[in-house]
């Protein structure tokens, strides 16, 4: 087991460096001078410009700059943006909103998706099954922002069930955006759970369990369900990272001050350090979530460890 974890950890290293370097190089290839963007219409004194360029390492070659960035990162320092504010400050301020949104969306997709998938899988070809299949297909086809507007209009404006925009009302204001954000993955979870349960119910070990006279409840809950959940758990784990990244659209629709909005402003004002910091944080979350899932997977299914 230790060997497996170590090997996976080693695989994570190049992914982390590769992804952060890629985004670092891309962001610094964006045309336009950040000092000019900072100054706006007013001219910058040459001495000030030189000092700023030096402070932000703008004259160093790309690799040197990346090295300095990593060095800071190792000390937990995400750098400072061009207005002199530490990027970690921005992350600290913005991430809680996105994390709350992401976690709520995650809970929604896991609970509702699993319930729908399992119920449909147990009653194959029933009315409920068809309903789940049709509704998941339709929802997958509706782009998130269209779904978001419809939900906002119907549940927020017309029915007054939820706040329409902003985060003024605490947790309540997160429900609607979280439902919209989680809806796409919910469909995948439901379909995955259904398909894998249907397959498990046809498996030999389920027939054996039935043959030895176990009550149907136990056959389903202990024998079929537990095994069929493995792919669903994998998907859920990987999805946790993508939910945070996908939040950018939902945040826009519902006007939530999360990292999505921060990225937008940062790109428009050419605040590269902020963009790099946010993407680095997201890559870290993604990579760690994947690692966690892999380890969990190895715990659930011993065959994986010995490959």
């Amino acid at each position: 087991m230790t060997r497996f974890v170590v090997r996976r950890l080693l695989q994570v290293v190049p992914v982390f460096f590769g992804a952060t370097f890629l985004i670092f190089a891309l962001v610094y290839a964006v045309p336009g001078d950040p000092i000019d963007a900072l100054a706006g219409d007013r001219p910058v004194a040459p001495a000030v410009r030189a000092e700023l360029r030096h402070r932000y390492h703008l004259d160093d070659p790309l690799l040197v700059r990346y090295g300095k960035y990593l060095e800071g990162l190792a000390h937990g320092d995400f750098g400072t943006n061009f207005r002199g504010r530490p990027v970690s400050d921005i992350l600290k301020q913005r991430f809680p909103v996105t994390i709350r949104l992401g976690l709520l969306a995650f809970a929604f997709e896991a609970v509702v998706g699993l319930a729908a998938g399992v119920l449909a899988g147990l009653r194959r070809r029933s009315l409920l099954d068809s309903l789940v299949l049709v509704s998941t297909t339709v929802v997958v086809a509706i782009p998130v922002f269209v779904l978001g507007y419809c939900a906002q209009l119907l549940l927020g404006v017309k029915l007054h069930w939820f706040p329409v925009v902003g985060i003024r009302q605490g947790w309540r204001s997160y429900f609607l955006p979280a439902m919209v954000l989680g809806s796409l993955s919910l469909c995948y979870v439901a379909r995955l759970a259904r398909a894998s349960l249907v397959e498990a119910m046809r498996a030999d070990y389920v027939r054996t369990a039935r043959a030895k006279g176990l009550p149907e409840r136990r056959v389903v809950a202990v024998h079929a369900l537990r095994n069929s959940l493995i792919p669903v758990v994998t998907f859920l784990g990987v999805d946790l990272g993508s939910l945070m990244a996908g939040a950018i659209i939902t945040e826009g629709i519902f006007n939530l001050p999360g990292i999505g909005q921060a990225t937008f402003t940062a790109i428009h004002t050419q605040e590269y350090p902020t963009v790099v910091g946010i993407v680095t944080a997201l890559v870290l979350i993604f990579v760690l979530a994947n690692l966690l899932v892999d380890v969990l997977y190895a715990v659930l299914d011993p065959r994986i460890r010995y490959r």
Binding site: Q11, P14, V15, F16, G18, A19, L22, I23, L26, V27, A29, V30, P31, T137, V138, V140, A141, I142, P143, V144, F145, V146, Y149, C150, Q152, L153, V157, G241, S242, M244, A245, G246, I248, I249, G252, T263, F264, I267, V275, I278, V279, L282, V283, F286, V287
Partner: protein, 299 residues
């Protein structure tokens, strides 16, 4: 192989008309009878015609606008009403199909070309080639798609169809390459490949004539679904203000401009949203039907 096959076929033809029973022929026979294939296929054909010749669906010029008609609700003569500038909304929605279909098809064809080549090489040769390609796909995978797309679009400094296509290919190829690789892996060690190798077939011939045709099905299925995903992604990027800009006519843009008037003019959201969703749905259903047809276990 073809040389060895031909005498057998000739004998069969003398006795009875031979029934071709390859994977593709079987799949096609099944697809023709499946309403879940025929329906979406007809819809896609309709949208394709709409993209190529929008003039067949409307005689109104989508850019001939009259401000006195601004935001008029749908009526008998103008089914979809008018937008803010007083343009006929039906004409605009019809003309919007072109962007979606173009970007969907070109992106997926481009992605498939890259993925089929890289995936086949990785799966067929294994070893260093495989590891190298796997590590690169891993790195791209770790980047959040929309944030990454925003940065790349900023680097490219333009928001035309070409840039959007490039970005969507860039963030689409890792998934498809992995799929192709695993599919090639499952075919590579089949007896017929070993047999062809024993007969002296070279690597290129093995890959193109024996491995590829038998490993392509999953990529075709995913490709069909991917067209839908890409169309939705283009609309999303345009909606975010990163994709096409006015005066381009795109469903994503129409929805974005509909946002501030959600309450007073819901038809501005409804029609492009509906067309967009139906197009995406058609490609997803097409993919599902193809998967069922290609998977012999489900027959």
């Amino acid at each position: 192989m073809a040389v060895a096959d031909s005498p057998v076929v000739e004998v069969a033809e003398e006795t009875a008309p031979v029934r071709e029973a390859g994977l593709w022929a079987d799949a096609w026979r099944q697809l023709r009878r499946n309403p879940l294939f025929v329906g979406p296929a007809v819809l896609i054909a309709l949208f394709a015609v709409m993209a190529v010749a929008p003039g067949l669906f409307t005689r109104t010029d989508p850019r001939a606008c009259d401000l006195s008609h601004s935001l008029l609700r749908p009526s008998v003569h103008h089914w979809f009403g008018y937008d803010l500038q007083g343009c006929d909304y039906y004409a605009r929605v019809v003309y919007g199909a072109r962007v979606s279909m173009t970007i969907g098809l070109t992106t997926v064809v481009g992605t498939a070309l890259i993925s089929v080549v890289l995936g086949t090489l990785a799966g067929f040769y294994g070893g260093v080639v495989d590891t190298l390609i796997a590590r690169v796909t891993d790195v791209w995978f770790a980047l959040p798609t929309f944030l990454g797309a925003i940065v790349v679009l900023a680097v490219l400094g333009g928001n035309g169809l070409a840039q959007l296509t490039l970005v969507l290919v860039l963030f689409g190829w890792p998934t498809m390459t992995r799929l192709m690789r695993s599919s090639v892996l499952s075919v590579r060690d089949m007896e017929y490949v070993t047999a062809a190798r024993a007969l002296g077939a070279g690597d290129v011939r093995l890959m193109t004539r024996h491995v590829l045709p038998n490993a392509l099905a999953p990529v075709i299925v995913y490709g069909a679904i991917r067209v839908g995903i890409v169309i939705a992604a283009e609309a999303t990027l345009s909606y975010l203000g990163l994709g096409l800009q006015l005066p381009a006519i795109s469903w994503g843009l129409m929805i974005a401009t509909a946002q501030p008037r959600l309450l007073s003019a819901p038809h501005l959201l409804l029609f492009p949203g509906l067309f967009l969703s139906v197009t995406v749905l058609a490609f997803i259903l097409l993919g599902d039907a193809l998967r069922d047809a290609f998977d012999p276990r489900l027959r």
